[in-house]
Every structure is written in C-alpha cells, then in structure tokens.
C-alpha cells in the first residue's frame, strides 16, 4: 500500500503556528544567545498587510483592553428629546452622535467608542474614552453648544456715547446681528503671516457672505464682536467692508485653543441638549494592577489545574493539559482577531472558562475509560467513548451558547441588555464555549489519536485489525 501524505497533521501544525504568531506579546525585546547564535529582536504579534487585486487586507492583532483595565472615562448622556417630533428622534440621535464624535476626535483619543441606544422613552449616548482622565476638559467640549454669533455696537443716542466710550469695547457690543454659526460653511486653523500666531479662518455660505458684507459695511471703524455661546472671543475692528465671505478670527490664541475653537465652530450646535447621567473614570494605575493580578492568578490557577489533571488522569491529564494550552491560545487569538474588548469581568470569565474547558476533556476520558473497563480494545474504546461523550458535550454547550446568544442581544432588542458589561460577558462566554467545543472535539481527538493509541497497555492491542473499519 502506498502511504498517502497525511494532510491533517500539516494543517494542524500550520494552524497552531498562526495562532501562536497572533498571540505573541506586544513590543517585547527578545535577547539571548544560543551557542554562537545571537538573537536580539523585538517581538510583535502577527501583522497582515497584503493586496489581492484591489482588495487590500490589513490587520494588526493586538489586545484591546477595556476602560477598567487600561484606564479611561466612560460617560453616559441622556438626550432631551422633548422638543423633537417623535418621528425625527432617531435621526436627531444619530446626528448627535456624529457631532459628538467630531468633537471627541479632536482630542486625538485613540479608539474612542461612541454609541447610542434607546431605552423606553430615553435616548442615550455613551462615550468611551480610553486613556482620557482629565474628564472635565472633555466634558466641557462634548457638552458645548458652540453657538457662534456676531454682535455689533448698539445704536446709541449721543448723550450715552460719552459715558459709553469709557466702558470697554466688549461691553458695548450688545446688538446681535443675524449672522450666526449656521452661516459658516467651514472653519479652519491658519497662521497669521505677520505675527505667526494661530488664527481661525471662517468661510461663509452665500447668505452668510451677503450678511457679513452688510455688517462690515455699516461698521467700518467700529468693533465687531465674535461670540461663542455668549462669551466674547475676539472683537476685531472692521477696517473695510469685506465681500467674498471669508473672515478671520484673531484672538490671543494658543495653537490648541485655536484648534479647539475651529472644531467647536465646525461641529456646530448639538442637535439636542444633553445631560450627563453617568461618569466613570479609572486611572491607569488601578487598571494595570488589575491586569497584573489577573494574569498572575490565571497562571497559578492554570498550574494548579494541570497538576491536578496530570496526577489524577496520568497520561490523559497530559493530553488534557496540552488541549487546554491550545484552548487558551486559540481563545486569546480570537480575542485579538475579532477584537474583543477585555474588561475585568471578561478576564475573570476567560479564566473561569479555562476551568470549564477541561470539562469536555474529562467527559471524553471518563467515557473512554468506561468503554475500556467493559473490555473493549483501545481503538474501539476511543471511538465509542468519543461518540458517547460528544452527545453530552453538544447538548451542554449548545444550551450555554443559547444563553450567551440571548444575553449578547445581536439584534439589539431594547428589551434585553444593549451594551456594556453583560454583553461583553456574553461574548467572552460564547467564544469560550465555541472554542472548548472545537478543542474538545477536534484537538483532543487528534492528540489522543496521535499519542494514546500507541501507549503500551497490559493487553496486546490489535490496532491493525480495527483500523479502517466503520
């Protein structure tokens, strides 16, 4: 008989290598020498970046830590929809989301997450800002209505003028014009060529350009106030009538302030007023501590489980430990690939799932042993034991998957939990169950097939005669 090249072990090996590559630690320097061979590199998890035709695949695998582990802020706002017609509320909420996102992006927060959801009659907006601790600054920006308007000096009787000239210019600018932030098409930050100082450039739309021209015409030689949310930002003196619809706000800005202002003007007013319902800010120290402790606890737990399994089940225990290791590697790779944001409860769930993943193995081993006790040959015992164990594993895991599915609420029914802790937990639970099914059914079977069959045994095994039978 010609031996065919067996593909399965090759595929398995390649699969394992990919998983390990995905799981590699991030930015870890590796330095050692082996004989005359010196190694000094920085380790990264796998990065995919290639092109097939016009289709580009790019993916970095890295661990996504939740706010409680990384530090950061979690804010929940409630939108006040009283003044908005019922049918327009969903739209208002999504445009609210867009405006807030623009403002948040300004801060250069990496991976902010802004979500909206409706619960009962309440419309909510959640903002997650990893790494941001100075919440007051962020909150000020998010909540800002950013209503820009232009004001001119009120017409005064000549009697008032004498008195009025003694008050600062700003206080005399009391007359609101029709020109407001609505008329601005775009705003950007520029630098004054003379002073090198940052200024905010404004481009008006058609109507705005006309209004601006009129206003400047009647105010030549006088101050024109630019107000943001009723607060004067700058009050330049109009030199001449300006047509063409472009203007510049020059205040004594720092670059950041100018950028901030430009963003605020660009994003305009919030479509609906919002109120803060919840704020959670966690410092990076506490998060790092949690990570360190959980990783350590996980290691200790894992060692304890391995010791127990090996001492109780002997050779089976070694196989189970391998299966467990592979289970851990696959799950972690999935966390990185999907990616799943790991929170403290997620990590705890993961560690717990390691304990539960052993179960599939124990079920299989107990069944195989049972069949062997009945006097069946090892080959048959493995096959029957497996078949019987699978039925229990299938039912038990499918119900757990069902629970995970309902809790995860993929269709976002407002009746069920819509975000946060419970959903994250459901996701880790679901991934854990699916992976343990996979390792139990595929990996353990393969490991047993590869090693256990050839284990010596008191009774002479009649392997040959059984192989290939149905």
């Amino acid at each position: 008989m010609i031996r065919k090249v067996r593909l399965a072990p090759v595929i398995f090996f390649v699969f394992l290598v990919i998983i390990i590559l995905i799981d590699l630690p991030e930015n870890r320097t590796l330095k050692f020498s082996l004989g005359g061979f010196k190694v000094d590199t920085i380790i990264h998890p796998l990065r995919i970046d290639f092109q097939i035709g016009t289709w580009r695949i790019k993916k970095n695998f890295s661990t996504h830590l939740g706010l409680d582990l990384k530090g950061g802020s979690h804010l929940v706002y409630e939108a006040d929809m009283k003044k908005i017609v019922l049918s327009d509320r969903e739209d208002a909420l999504s445009s609210l989301r867009d405006v807030v996102e623009k403002r948040v992006n300004f801060f250069g927060v990496s991976e902010p997450s802004i979500q909206t959801y409706k619960t009962g009659d309440n419309y909510r907006l959640t903002v997650d800002l990893p790494g941001v601790q100075d919440v007051s600054e962020t909150m000020a920006l998010i909540g800002k209505t950013a209503e820009l308007d232009f004001r001119e000096e009120a017409a005064m009787s000549s009697a008032d003028i004498k008195e009025a000239t003694q008050t600062p210019v700003i206080l005399r600018l009391t007359q609101k014009t029709d020109l407001t932030g609505r008329h601005i098409k775009k705003s950007s930050i520029q630098f004054d060529p003379n002073t090198g100082k940052p200024v905010v450039a404004l481009i008006f739309n058609g109507e705005g350009a006309k209004l601006f021209e009129e206003i400047t015409k009647r105010n030549v030689g006088k101050a024109l106030g630019i107000f943001l949310d009723g607060i004067p930002i700058s009050a330049p003196t109009v030199q001449q009538a300006i047509s063409g619809g472009e203007a510049v706000i020059s205040g004594d800005f720092s670059v950041d302030e100018a950028k901030n202002l430009s963003i605020a003007i660009n994003s305009g007013a919030l479509p609906v007023p919002i109120k803060l319902k919840e704020l959670k800010a966690i410092g990076p120290t506490l998060g790092a501590e949690h990570v360190r402790k959980s990783v350590f606890a996980g290691m200790i737990g894992l060692v304890a489980v391995v010791v127990f399994m090996v001492s109780y089940y002997g050779f089976f225990g070694i196989i189970a430990s391998f299966a467990l290791l592979i289970y851990g590697l696959i799950t972690f790779a999935l966390f990185r690939a999907i990616p799943v944001v790991l929170t403290l409860s997620g990590v705890a769930g993961f560690i717990l799932s390691i304990g539960m993943a052993v179960d599939a193995n124990i079920l299989i081993f107990e069944r195989i042993k049972e069949e062997e006790r009945k006097g069946k040959s090892r080959d048959i015992a493995i096959r029957i034991g497996f078949g019987k164990a699978i039925s229990a594993i299938k039912d038990a895991n499918l119900t757990t998957l069902l629970v995970a599915f309902i809790l995860f609420n993929p269709f976002n029914f407002s009746l069920f939990p819509q975000f946060g802790l419970v959903k994250g937990f459901a996701l880790t639970l679901g991934i854990g169950v699916l992976t343990s099914l996979f390792t139990g059914v595929v990996i353990t079977r393969r490991l047993i097939g590869a090693f256990y069959k050839n284990q010596p045994r008191s009774k002479p095994p009649n392997r040959r005669s059984n192989r290939g039978k149905k």
Binding site: A281, H290, K293, G298, G301, A304, G355, D359, A396, V403
Partner: protein, 290 residues
Amino acid sequence: MINFLKYKFFYFIISGIVLVVGIFSLVRYGFVFSLDFTGGGIVEYSFDKKISRDVIQKTTQTEGIKIVSIEETGENRYLLKTAPIDEKKEETLRKKIQDAHKVRIETLRFETVGPTMGKETAQKTIIAAIVAIIGIFLYLTISFSRFTYGLAAIVALIHDFLIVLGTYSLLSRFLDAEFDTLFVTAILTTMSFSVHDTIVVFDKIREHTKIETTTPFSHLANKAVTETMVRSLNNSLTIILMLLALILLGGLSIKFFVATLLIGTITGTYSSPFIAVPVLEMMEGKKKRK
C-alpha cells in the same frame, strides 16, 4: 452503584435549610446596592504620603460634599463614597486637599451615576434570563423528547439561582458585598453552569433508558449519577482551583464576584445529582416504562 435516590428527602432538607436561611436574609436584609443602583459618587485617591481619614473628612465637609463612607483600600489609599458630585467638585476637593496638606494625589477612580442606570440593566438582564430559561426548557424538551427533563433542569437552575441570591444577601449583610452589575453576570454564569452540569447527568440517564427499557427508572438514574459523580467532582474541582487562585490573588474589586462564582459552582454541581435527578425521578419514576 450507590443508591443516591434513597436519600432524596435528605437532600431536599439540606437545600431547604440553605434556601430558607438565604431567603430569610433576602427578605429581612435585602442587599447593599452598588452605586449603579443607588446613584452617587465614588472617588478613590492615592496619596504620596500618609494622610489621616479626618483630614479628608473635614475637607469634604467644608466643600459641602456629602460623604457616605470613607474606606481605606490600601497603603495611603482611600475610597470615598459620596452623594452624586460633578467633576468640578471632585477637582476642587482634590486641589484643596493637595494644597492644604502638601500631598500629591492621584485619582485612581472617579464615578458618578444617576440611580436609574443599574436598575435598567438589571431589569433587562432579568427579562433576558427568563427568555433564556424558556429557551433552555424548549431545547431540552426537543433534545430529550420529554418535557420532564427540561422541567427538572429548570427546577435545579432556579434552586441554584435562589441559593446564590440568598447567600449573597448574607455576604451583603455581613461583609458589605455590593449588589452590582458584576454580581448580575456572576448569577448568569451560575445559571448556565447549572444547566451544563445537569445535562451531563441527564445525557447518561437518556442513554441508559434507551438500552435498558425494562429496568425501573430509579435504578437507571442511580446508575447515571454514580457514573457521572467522578466527572462532576473533577470538573468542579478544576473550576474551583481557578477561582481560588483568583480569590487569593486577584484584585480587591472582583473578590465578591469570584466568591459568587465559587458558591455558584458548588451549588451548580450539587444540584445536578441531588435536585435535578430526584425531581426527574419523581416525575418519571411513577410512569410505567415500556
């Protein structure tokens, strides 16, 4: 084979006692609810040198911040529970303490929550859990082609749910464990574990009833329990080993979460052979088998 079912009323009494104590505590003391449910503020500070509790207390008083409690969570570390405060108040408080006592403060945690948030999450989770239970019942009824299996599994599940809830109420009363969203997830884990464990035993019973069609049901049930006992104990032991590691070394903030999972694992393991199987036997055993 051990005749486990002979002592079924003994198991019911044990469960009954734990349930009665737990439910008594539940009704009498209820829970200490976390910030998510009550609304309020939490501020955790780390100081670079020693500072006394009184100093913090005094500053909060002069700032007009209502303090619920001050807890020392570590070396030069304090956790303040307050009435809801905004971020500006927190900032003034921090600056006041820093300036007046020449210490540097790192804000480890700052939370402020309106009281409706947690309630909503809990309500939705309860609805989801009820739907999940109905789903489990239907699945088991189809998979085992008898509704009694599903029903018995659900009885065991509710038993575990009540045990965890009751015990947690005791933890809440005597060790200040808080009813928080983490606890909600722990309850959910317990419930899915409970069914998982029950199914393994039921699967054995189903297998035996298919082969030995004339043997009395109670005999088959005893056999199934005997055969799965080692697996059950071993499985729980591995989970408990993991949890013990977490409880001994893990962060303070998940201490009670892990403790709940520990209780859940123990009752989940116990309820499969000692509650689910006897209940099933009471429903199935009286019927004549073909």
